[in-house]
Symmetry: C2
Subunit: 121 residues, 2 copies
């Protein structure tokens, strides 16, 4: 409940620091995980909805990444016994709390662009 205390602990133990960063990296790395998480931030969605919402993704990748995210506790998969069966994907609390990470990423990205105006290429 007190993240800054946990953070200080972690900083004193390089091992868990690295472990925690790797956990986070596993969730955000790859071409499609962030687009999928981004789509689900607007609410739960079905497979085909996600496929339509995320340009250029193939069902193979969508399926694979959803399984990955489910195993890592980022999304839940719920099968409804309707006809035809519908499957809904939803972010867990952990998944939703990724916005914290994304927010500082946006913040850093913007600052970085400001810091380097005209210097690139």
């Amino acid at each position: 409940m007190s993240p800054s205390i946990e953070l200080n602990k972690a900083k004193q133990c390089a091992g868990s620091y690295v472990l925690a960063i790797n956990d986070t990296m596993n969730v955000v790395s790859g071409k499609w995980k962030l687009p999928i998480i981004g789509a689900l931030l607007f609410g739960k969605k079905r497979f085909k909805e996600l496929e339509r919402n995320i340009p250029k993704i193939t069902p193979r990748m969508l399926s694979k990444e959803l399984r990955d995210l489910e195993m890592n506790g980022i999304v839940t998969r719920t099968v409804y016994d309707s006809v035809p069966v519908t499957v809904e994907y939803e972010l867990t609390r952990s998944g939703q709390s990724l916005t914290k990470v994304l927010d500082v990423m946006v913040e850093w990205g913007l600052e970085h662009r400001e810091n380097t105006v005209g210097k690139a290429v």
Copy 2:
């Protein structure tokens, strides 16, 4: 100078939001960028020092990633006209400010582990 205002602006414009996240992802993704940045957080270092500090990295990858990070404005490369020539790599202000991003990554990683105790595998 007021990051939260910038952040809100970005949230209203999906385009720059995505752009900013991609900028950040480019800097942290890959197997070696974070280890290199991590090593440089303790102060500027020379090529061989980095090579010794980062287990298992090959000079090819170190060279490539340093060039990458330099082009992206994360590290500076300074050649000293000594004998033999020494080359020092140092984090830019942007590079140093990445700690903000890494800190929330650690924080989220730790929280996520707490949220999912015993649930994985």
